[in-house]
């Protein structure tokens, strides 16, 4: 019952929230509940056994018996940290965006908590239909978040976001239904349980695009690629990020993008190992392309938020590269990078939101010399920037290093090209930092009174800054939880690594 509680607790929070009238009350109680939820989720540390590879704390109830759809949830090393990341970010969002959440705070709280439910459900579901249910239903609250509180182009952005991601995922629904029927043809019962379906040997024909496994693989991969977002299908992301209000951006970048990469790790690799290995090169190429493309486009942005949005495309490219490098190092790196990205990009969006609230401008050229006016803000921004460009001692370094190591081991060509992204990443971030924070104080800022971070904002950022260093200095604290599950994952995808150099150990 622990995990069910974890998923659906926010629904109970909504009951008192709906009866609150004053904005301040609503925000205070929502913040309080989000903290309660986070503390509740910390119970995972007590209950989770890190040496076990399979699902733990599992629960299973039939939802629709005749179709074999179950309410089956469980947590393992892959989802463990993502769940915690989800519950961890919400209180920080409330603290960090306190003043900007005055319009319709009740609906705000409803959307955010419903989003929590669907995201947690996505990470914990062990049944494919249940997973799809949570995965898709996260669209509605996010649609409302962007659409109600977004910027000038919010309607365009939110409808694009909704249709784009929905287009990606409908084929996954078709694939899931086909899997259920395949299970029926093999075992005689319909089932959409992951544990049942991963036992299926789905027929795979080399070099044929129309073999069952290939088609199903692409059905799933499209959905997750759009969500991630992978290079050619990333175009919804900049729009959605730029138009979304800060809380929306933080949740979108911090957690929702991980639903795509998580889907790859959880479903695509174990269910379609042959197809994944065979067509992995497509994803590696696209990922590398995305890394470089995202960085280059970020370089020329004039809008800070858009720059961060494109940096997401670049960072998520690393994650995909890690996943499709099919070795344990890269998988660990990919998972680590997901968490890093949640922390650092989440923090970046919070920071951009804070400065936007003061100046109502996001153009880089508008700023200059901010370091003199807001020193603490600048320090925090720099720390997060370092984490984002993977400077050693910060968390970003561990993730990217592991991914690149794994990529080199898998195929050095991908490794070489991906490494250029590291340089480019430093370029666009540092250049932006230079223009915004250093140099002469710009005339636009002279007339404004720019208070430095207040207590709430500092409290919101402090945990993130601490986490940047903790994750950078003691990666084993985190990796030990994921190790056994990732071992098993890498064992499922048994690659004859085509370019493997040597096997010395």
């Amino acid at each position: 019952m622990y995990l069910t509680g974890l998923i659906f607790l926010p629904l109970f929070f909504l009951v008192p929230i709906l009866f609150m009238k004053k904005p301040l009350q609503v925000k205070a109680i929502s913040f309080f509940f989000s903290v309660v939820h986070f503390i509740y989720s910390l119970g995972l540390f007590l209950k989770f056994n890190m040496n076990e590879a399979g699902f733990q704390l599992s629960e299973k109830l039939p939802l629709i018996k005749s179709l074999g759809i179950y309410y089956a949830i469980g947590v393992d090393g892959i989802s463990f940290w993502l769940v915690l990341l989800t519950t961890f970010l919400l209180p920080l969002i409330y603290l960090g965006c306190w003043n900007s959440m005055n319009k319709n705070p009740r609906t705000y709280a409803v959307s955010l908590f419903l989003l929590q439910v669907s995201m947690l459900g996505t990470f914990l579901a062990q049944d494919l239909v249940l997973f799809y249910l949570f995965f898709e239903s996260s669209l509605i609250p996010m649609f409302l978040l962007i659409g109600i509180w977004g910027g000038a182009q919010k309607l365009y952005a939110t409808v694009k976001f909704f249709l784009y991601t929905m287009f990606g995922s409908v084929f996954m629904l078709g694939a899931i239904i086909t899997l259920m029927i395949l299970n029926h043809s093999v075992t005689g019962t319909y089932s959409s349980l992951l544990s049942d379906l991963s036992l299926l040997n789905i027929s795979f024909v080399q070099d044929s695009l129309f073999s069952t496994q290939t088609l199903l693989f692409f059905g799933f991969a499209l959905a997750f690629a759009v969500k991630t977002p992978l290079f050619p299908v990333h175009t919804w992301l900049p729009d959605a990020h730029v138009q979304a209000p800060t809380p929306g951006s933080v949740v979108l970048a911090g957690v929702m993008l991980k639903m795509g990469t998580y889907g790859f790790m959880r479903f695509v690799l174990p269910l379609f190992p042959e197809a994944a290995v065979n067509y992995g090169w497509i994803f590696c190429v696209l990922a590398v392309f995305g890394i470089i493309y995202g960085a280059l486009v970020a370089l020329v942005q004039t809008d800070i938020k858009k720059l961060v949005a494109y940096s997401s495309v670049s960072h998520m490219g690393y994650v995909i590269l890690g996943i499709f490098s099919f070795n344990e190092l890269a998988h660990t790196g990919a998972l680590y990078q997901m968490l890093n990205h949640g922390v650092s990009t989440g923090a970046l969006f919070l920071l951009v939101g804070m400065i936007y609230e003061r100046t109502h401008n996001r153009e880089i050229s508008y700023y200059g010399g901010l370091a003199k006016l807001m020193p603490i803000y600048t320090i925090v921004f720099l720390v997060i920037t370092f984490s984002s460009i993977a400077v050693p001692l910060t968390n970003g370094f561990i993730g990217e290093f592991l991914i690149l190591l794994g990529a080199f081991e898998y195929n050095y060509i991908y490794g070489i090209f991906a490494t250029t992204g590291v340089v480019l990443g430093a370029t666009y971030m540092l250049w932006m930092v230079k223009r915004v924070f250093f140099g002469e104080v710009s005339n636009n800022l002279k007339e404004l009174s720019l208070p430095d971070l207040n207590l709430k904002e500092s409290l919101a950022l402090a945990p993130l800054v601490i986490l940047v260093f903790v994750m950078g200095l003691f990666p084993n604290l985190f990796i030990q939880f994921t190790k056994s599950s990732l071992d098993e994952l890498s064992a499922t995808v048994n690659v004859e690594q085509p370019y493997k150099v040597s096997e010395e150990k």
Binding site: I64, L144, K154, T158
Partner: protein, 499 residues
């Protein structure tokens, strides 16, 4: 086998829902006559109407549990009626959704207040037709059922206070409906002829008998083939399948919104079931050409409905087109049924319709509430900013729209999964593929409604009234309860049905 002349008590018991419905449908009229042709209070009429439907529903449940459930299916009245689990569910759904339909008609201002008792009588007779066709095991019975369902409908469309449009709609519906009926009769004649000349039988009229001979006849006898086509066309007209759909947007738009609900839910359920009877007789099962054609008709129906809806500005017309699009999904299910012919596919279709009926009730109650206020059709711009003004009804609209679009937590999603699953199981991959694509296209216009409801600033339409109009207190406790329970059901129905 019963001898034709005698009627056993069990048979009476089996048709008791219809008998009860008929007798009780006379109640409003009788009251009116006894009052000296004075229209009784509207609420009393509504009460008797709902009472009739509920009694009939209860009788249906009782007969099913006591008589039918023991056998798989049961024939009665010289085999001209068949009672099975499928027909039980069809009857249940028709009766069930006629209740909100009647309530919506009651609350709609444009239904002539002086004639509500006649109106109720007509609706109940039309429901009687649905019961008849659900039980039919005989082409004649099927025809009688369809006609009994449609004829009162033509008059009901006409009985509106509204503009000329409703007269036009009624006439259009009547003329085209008659043509469809003519095709049905023509097909029937061909099939009778074919069975007589080929088998030297007496005329084969029973659907279950036709099912036995159709495989041989479909291949050998062109007359039978043409007869099947005629019948399929007529049925395609009834459920508004692609080339035969063009009447439906006009008719749906022209008639009262409350009546539109009646037409796109209970009447559609009955028509789909009638279609399944024709298919069960094997009119599609043994001809690959026809199967191919109907596959593509299903796809085209979805696409035509969706693309048609994208261009509309009137909410009601959007929903009318969306109902065409849903006919495509239903046709997918029907195709699966005609190919595999098990009751599983019918269960999927019924579940789909159950969800569709419920969600559509939510959207239409929203629509009718505002139509009554505005006095004319609701356009998309009229919805601007309503979401936060009228929270409960708008939430109903939101759930209804997203549910009909097949978004996950709502019941519409499970309906879609059911239908797609049956279609994939049957091998209709391309239809499913297009169905998936179509659900994205459809999301575009559904989401447009949500955008107007929640994301746009309020406009002059709202400011026409003072705020008092817009407080939820304007809703009676009863309607709040209805909408609230609809919301809950929209979320939890799949779980309830799972047990």
């Amino acid at each position: 086998m019963n001898s034709p002349a005698s009627v056993s008590l069990v048979e009476i018991f089996l048709v008791s829902p219809a008998i009860a419905l008929f007798v009780l449908s006379l109640l409003p009229l009788t009251i009116k006559v006894l009052r000296g042709n004075q229209e009784p209070p509207k609420s009393l009429v509504l009460l008797t109407g709902v009472f009739a439907l509920i009694v009939s529903l209860a009788l249906n449940v009782i007969t099913y549990n006591n008589v039918i459930v023991a056998q798989n299916s049961l024939m009665a009245f010289s085999n001209s009626l068949i009672f099975s689990t499928n027909s039980y569910w069809a009857v249940n759904l028709c009766l069930l959704f006629s209740i909100p339909a009647l309530m919506l008609c009651y609350s709609h201002k444009a239904i002539r207040p002086g004639q509500f008792s006649e109106f109720t009588f007509l609706m109940l007779s039309s429901v009687l037709g649905m019961l008849t066709l659900s039980w039919a095991n005989d082409l004649i019975m099927l025809f009688i059922g369809i006609e009994l369902m449609s004829l009162p409908l033509y008059i009901m469309v006409l009985m509106s206070l509204e503009r000329r449009v409703s007269k036009e709609a009624a006439l259009k519906y009547f003329v085209l409906g008659s043509v469809a009926s003519a095709f049905f009769l023509l097909g029937m004649a061909f099939i009778y002829g074919a069975t007589v000349s080929n088998h030297g039988y007496q005329v084969v009229t029973k659907l279950s008998r036709i099912a036995e001979v159709s495989e041989a006849l479909m291949a050998s006898d062109r007359l039978f083939f043409i007869g099947s086509i005629c019948m399929l066309m007529s049925m395609a007209f009834k459920i508004a399948l692609f080339p035969f759909h063009s009447w439906s947007p006009d008719v749906y738009e022209g008639s009262n919104t409350s009546l539109t609900y009646y037409m796109i839910v209970p009447v559609k359920i009955a028509s789909v079931f009638a279609f399944s009877k024709v298919l069960h007789a094997g009119m599609l099962s043994y001809s690959f050409v026809l199967q191919d054609i109907f596959q593509w008709l299903a796809v085209l129906t979805m696409l035509v409905g969706s693309f048609g809806a994208i261009l509309q500005t009137s909410v009601k017309r959007i929903l009318a087109y969306s109902s065409i699009s849903h006919s495509g999904y239903l046709m997918m299910g029907l195709l699966a049924f005609s190919i595999k012919g098990t009751s599983l596919e019918m269960t999927a279709i019924m579940f789909y319709l159950l969800g569709y009926g419920l969600l559509t009730a939510l959207t239409f109650s929203f629509l009718i509430y505002f139509e009554n206020k505005k006095g004319s059709q609701i356009l998309l711009e009229d919805l601007n900013g309503l979401g936060f003004k009228v929270p409960l009804l708008s939430l109903g609209m939101l759930f209804g729209i997203l549910g009909v679009a097949g978004m996950p937590p709502f019941v519409g999603f499970f309906g879609k999964v059911f239908i797609f699953k049956e279609a994939v199981d049957t091998g209709l991959y391309w239809v499913v593929f297009w169905g998936l694509i179509n659900s994205v296209i459809a999301a575009f216009y559904y989401i447009k409604i949500v955008v107007h409801l929640y994301l746009k600033e309020e406009n002059s339409f709202i400011k026409l009234w003072d705020n008092a109009h817009f407080s939820a207190q304007n809703l009676s406790f009863f309607s709040k309860l209805m909408v609230g329970s609809g919301l809950v059901l929209a979320l939890f129905m799949p779980i309830l049905l799972a047990s």
